[in-house]
Structures are given as structure tokens and as C-alpha cells.
Amino acid sequence: MNEAQIIEGCIKKERKAQDAFFTTYNGLLFGVCLRYTKNRFEAEDVLQEGLVKIYKNMQMYSEGRSFEGWIRRIMINTAITYYRKMKKHAYHDDVSEIGVASSESELFTECEFTKEELLNTINELPNGYRTVFNLYVIEGYKHKEIAEQLGVDINTSKSQLSRAKKLLQTKLNELSRIKIPLEIE
């Protein structure tokens, strides 16, 4: 089944087309979910919610646009909505409490990290930082778009990105300190 057949079948609510869609795109979509969430369980919840949205609104996809980009965007929006809901009940991370990256170490540039290690560092970020970082760095959104998407000020987006990067730098430095002795041995 090619992309067009999958889309057509999903619009007709055919089970075969839905199966084919899941088989083809589940990895990509779950990868997105894992980056925007704290852990695997939350990622599964977001994926489930996002898939239902995609199957339900498949007829809204307009030809000529990138299908992968469309479904990825739906999944990102689902993740953002998920955290907006959670925000009301979740513990609010105070920015001042987050440690600021030290400028003394640049070890992480000399070390190679696995995707899993990098993913763990992202997962450890506070929800707001993680979302802004993902949107700006990985998805390539502008601060204006992020601010509109998240309903925050542009400067908030900028500052959160800056702090996110600093935090990641610190985490990577710590990680490299552990890894380098092991590599020497």
C-alpha cells in the first residue's frame, strides 16, 4: 500500500488501511512523542490520542502538502495539549531552582552520545523547556510561532530555550565525565 492508498483507505475507515498506516508511521510518531514527554508511558498516551485524531480527521489532509509533516504536526499539537492539561495539576518548576550550566566544561564536544542518552537528557528537562527546545531546535519553529502555539510571550520562549540549552550542556558535561574514564579504561 502506498501513501495515497493508505490515506484513501483511512478516509473510508478501512481496517487494512489503518493497519498499514500504523505499520508505516508508528516509529516516526512514537519518536516524536518520546521527545515531548517525560517517559514512555506518557508517550504511549500521547501517541494513542494523536493516532485517534489522525484517523478521525484524515479527510482534512489536503494533497500537495507533506503527509509526514502533517501527521507529525498533529502529534506535536497533541503533546502540547496533553501538557497544557497536565499543567493545571502538575508541579510548576521554578526557573530559579534549576541549576545553571557551568561554563568550565566543554567535555561533551569530545564525546559521542547515543540517541538514548540524548533522549534521556531531554526527558529530564522541565515540561516548558523541553517543549520550546523541541519546537525550536528539532522542528525548526520560530519564537513567534512557538509563542502563539504555547500561548506565551516571545521573550518567554527565548528565555526558556536559553535555559534549556544550558541545562542540557550541564547534563551532557556530567555524562561525558562518566563516559570518558570508561572509554580510557
Binding site: 489503518q18 501517541l47 485517534v52 540524548l118 531546535v137 528539532i138
Partner: protein, 218 residues
């Protein structure tokens, strides 16, 4: 600035084609959600809650509409009739036939010819079998009726044999004596005292035990 660029580049490269297989359980949950949504959404081409409501309404209507008729039919089923004490048909002619087979009438007892009576018996028996087949009696009851019929038949044949002997005796008596049946008839004449009657009645042993009635009076 350089560090930040390095971080950006590092993560961009790592996650540009990041893909992790999702567990199948997620897809099962998705299918369940879709099924539930499909059931609750109006779609003329698919089975949904609206169709189910319509169907259940029609079934309920059909049950309510049909139920009283069904009960009326149940009241007249043959099984229930056969379970009741009375097995006699409503038709008086058939009823008489049935009674005549079970309790032979006095007319049959008086009959002098064997063959027609047996034929009548046979006819009566056929009639009751026909009746029983029509009203669908239980097998046990039919067997019981047949046994009664057979017993009655045997009894009747025995009686008939006795009566034929009596008829023979009567013929002999008629040859020798005057028929006084009219005189001793209880129905057509006055009732005489028993002693008087017994005196008139005497048994002649010389004529093979034939019953004779003396016409001589005092």
C-alpha cells in the same frame, strides 16, 4: 554561542530521523477508541447506536404486539387438552361411539348374531382410534384404551357365547312349551309375588337343562 550551536547541531542530527517502534497495545487501544466513536456516531452505512436503538424498539414493539395472540394460541393446544381429565370429543356422535365401545350397550348384549356385533365393535374401535388420532392423545392413554377395548371384547365374546347357549335352550323350550314371556314380562304386566313366580318356574332335567316355564296355574 559556539557551545549552543554545538548543542543544537548535536540534537538536530540525533533526532532528525528518530524513530522508535510503538507497542502493539497502543494500536489495540486506538482501535477500541475508534470502534466506540464509530458506534456513537451517526453513519447510515455502518451499524451504530442509532440503528441499535431502532432495532431494539422494533423488537420490543413486535413482542408487545404478538404476545397476547401467542397466549391465546397456547390455551388451545392439544397437549394441554390431552393432559386434562376429559378425553371425550365435543361431537355427540363420536362421544356415543366412544361410550359404546367402552361400555357395551344392552342392545349389544341382546344381540343374537355374533358377526355384525364384532363388525360394529371393530368399527367402534376404528372410530376411537380415529378420534384419538384427531385429538392427538398421549401414547399411554391410547394403549390404555386399547387394553380396555380388548378386555371388553373378550368379555363380550364370552357373554355372547353364553347367550348363544341360552338362545339354543330357549329354542328348545319354545318347541315344547308355550312362550309365556308376555305373561311374565315385568314391563308389560303387573308384578306378581316372587313365590308365585317361582312356583310357575320349574326346571326340566330331561330336556338338557332347558329352562321351561310352566303355564299351569293353580
Amino acid at each position: 554561542m559556539k557551545k549552543e550551536d554545538n548543542i543544537t547541531q548535536l540534537y538536530k542530527d540525533a533526532f532528525s530521523d528518530f524513530s522508535v517502534s510503538a507497542p502493539e497495545s497502543v494500536y489495540k487501544k486506538v482501535q477500541l477508541d475508534l470502534g466506540r466513536m464509530s458506534l456513537l456516531t451517526w453513519d447510515p452505512t455502518r451499524l451504530n447506536v442509532f440503528y441499535l436503538a431502532l432495532m431494539s424498539g422494533l423488537v420490543a414493539l413486535a413482542i408487545l404486539g404478538v404476545y397476547p395472540t401467542e397466549t391465546a394460541e397456547v390455551n388451545v393446544t392439544p397437549d394441554i387438552i390431552s393432559n386434562t381429565a376429559s378425553v371425550l370429543p365435543d361431537d355427540p356422535i363420536q362421544e356415543n361411539e366412544l361410550i359404546s365401545t367402552i361400555q357395551p350397550s344392552k342392545e349389544l348384549e341382546k344381540a343374537e348374531v355374533v358377526q355384525p356385533v364384532l363388525l360394529e365393535k371393530a368399527l367402534n374401535r376404528t372410530a376411537i382410534i380415529n378420534i384419538t388420532s384427531e385429538i392427538i392423545l398421549p401414547i399411554e392413554l391410547v394403549d390404555e384404551l386399547e387394553e380396555i377395548l380388548i378386555a371388553e371384547e373378550i368379555e363380550f365374546v364370552e357373554e355372547l357365547e353364553n347367550s348363544s347357549e341360552t338362545i339354543k335352550d330357549k329354542t328348545i323350550a319354545e318347541e315344547t312349551e308355550v312362550d309365556v314371556r308376555e305373561k311374565i314380562s315385568l314391563s308389560n304386566s303387573r308384578v306378581e309375588p316372587a313365590n308365585e313366580f317361582m312356583r310357575l318356574l320349574s326346571l326340566d332335567s330331561d330336556k338338557k337343562g332347558a329352562l321351561t316355564i310352566s303355564t299351569k296355574k293353580k
